[in-house]
Symmetry: C2
Subunit: 333 residues, 2 copies
């Protein structure tokens, strides 16, 4: 294996993928720091809007300063680092999957952090074209920092495709859980860590679309109780308007439930998750940007999805006994 810029960028990418969707409305970003001798000091990622950007998290991890996390917010952590650890990364290199941001949000700009910390080299995966954040590379170069990139640009673009879409309009993904042999019915399929991640996704989503048949048969809650999270609004796609109101999903407070024969209502939403099986996949295929498949290691007899489509694999990651596969529509579909 060749140990080069791509190798390190790939490690940063893998870390960032663990938080795909969960950073909404921010982009997922990964960062890796090498010390002046080339030793890996940290591999971190942005995890949630309002929390540290990847670069800040990597700097805290690299300095091995867990006590800094006791400060009340990312902004105070950022400022304390600059005050007390100025120049601590002289000679060091940081890889970021996305050009460092250059604006004041919940923290001062990452470009400022990297300059004040004294980094000598910044390698970026792809340029940031977000008008709010633009200009990080130029600002770093003006400060005399060597800026190199793009590195693994396509992979870095894939990572933030959901962000680019929800920022512009809407990102819609179809989440399905199957066994190793493709069966999606017959009760719980995924491990608890996978189901917890799905609840984190629900917590972040604006809207969850589900089929009327699933609602009647499974009587789901469709909330985010495993993480005490927010339950998204629900759109039940159904020709039949009447549902037993004792089905738990109707009892969840602070949620709007639509029962609709079409998908006209989705225009108000930016991050949409669809859950279901073969029929929902067919009914919503025109909307779907990506499929997110949770695959267990079991085999089971049962229903499989009979459907044809050209997809491309974007990323695969293990989670406990399952794998998570992110799939995008192929060029031809």
């Amino acid at each position: 294996m060749v140990i080069n810029h791509e190798f390190y960028m790939r490690l940063a990418l893998q870390e960032a993928w663990r938080y795909q969707i969960l950073t909404y409305p921010n982009p997922p970003v990964g960062a890796l720091i090498l010390d002046k001798n080339g030793k890996i000091l940290a591999i971190e990622a942005h995890r949630k809007a309002g929390e540290e950007h990847a670069e800040l998290r990597a700097v805290i991890a690299a300095l091995n300063l867990p006590q800094i996390n006791e400060l009340p917010n990312p902004d105070s952590r950022h400022r304390t680092l600059i005050e007390h650890h100025k120049g601590a990364f002289e000679g060091c290199t940081i890889y970021t999957t996305l050009e460092p941001c250059n604006h004041y949000g919940s923290t001062p700009p990452c470009s400022l952090l990297l300059k004040e910390m004294g980094f000598s080299r910044v390698l970026y995966g792809m340029r940031d074209h977000n008008p709010k954040a633009i200009g990080g590379n130029a600002s770093l170069q003006e400060a005399g920092i060597e800026v190199i990139g793009p590195i693994l640009e396509q992979e870095c673009r894939d990572l933030i495709t959901p962000f680019l879409k929800w920022q512009k309009n809407r990102f819609c993904f179809f989440k399905i859980a199957t066994t190793l042999n493709g069966v999606y019915d017959g009760g719980t399929i995924s491990s608890l860590p996978s189901r917890t991640l799905v609840h984190q996704m629900r917590d972040r989503c604006d809207l969850l679309i589900i089929g009327g048949e699933t609602v009647r048969n499974d009587r789901p809650t469709l909330d985010a109780r495993l993480i005490n999270g927010k339950a998204p609004d629900v759109l039940i796609l159904s020709h039949e308007k009447t549902f037993d109101q004792t089905i738990p999903l109707f009892q969840v407070p602070n949620r709007t439930v639509y029962i609709e024969q079409n998908l006209d209502k989705i225009d108000a939403y930016h991050l949409i998750m669809i859950e279901g099986g073969e029929r929902m996949l067919e009914s919503t295929a025109h909307l779907i940007d990506w499929v997110c498949l949770f695959e267990s290691a079991q085999m089971r007899s049962g229903k499989t999805v009979q459907y044809s489509a050209d997809f491309e694999r974007v990323h695969t990651q293990p989670l406990a006994s399952d794998i998570i596969e992110w799939i995008k529509k192929g060029e031809s579909s």
Copy 2:
């Protein structure tokens, strides 16, 4: 992410998995070298019996000496390194997924190489209990090298489970290719790199088992032509004894083809690959140690495997547009 011994061992493991089965009759082994400052110099693996062990390959890569590969064989490479680069790795650390070997095979012992190269620290994944190779750690410690382990012992044991089984008696794996939605019929499923890897596996296997129905319907060759490799012996499991002898698999030279109603003939073989779909999986379930699933990113309508079994995921790796999943029987099955 925590950057610790497990992190580096996992990188060595991932590299080794790329050559699972292909090292037969040797074990797959991965190695990673850190310089005295902790920078990664090399991540390499043993690829094929008769070629360099993982440690030797990593040392050559770390010294960036491609010209050494022009020497006629691993033995001469090993001896040249010791002669010209003695002590080159003073202060350095090497991770190996398996305790370094301590015997003269196609090369002198890896323990000798590590001592002569001057390594300061060796981290091993699991002890080597192979009587032929045993004693590496003790020999390193006697030379004053710090030896630390086991690291990720279970994962390192999983990696060499096929080796441990074929060495003792027999390892048998069921190879199947499916689409993302579990369909296994309807023509070519896997990408060319995946099919090439399957040919490499066939080249290494002693015996390939296949069903009579597949032979009649698909008229396969079942050789290793994509790599100009050796075609394994074939056992056709079939109640019907008569086959059209123009089916290509019968034309392959230097191969024995059995047509059998049972599997009594397999006792002479140590590495057995079964290819097929649902019926073959059912007929051979009692024999199978692992399933090797090549999964494409497409969806297609067609036949899926209707079968129930508790499996555990051992490893998943991407290969071109596909993923390869290694699955073992669960504790309860």
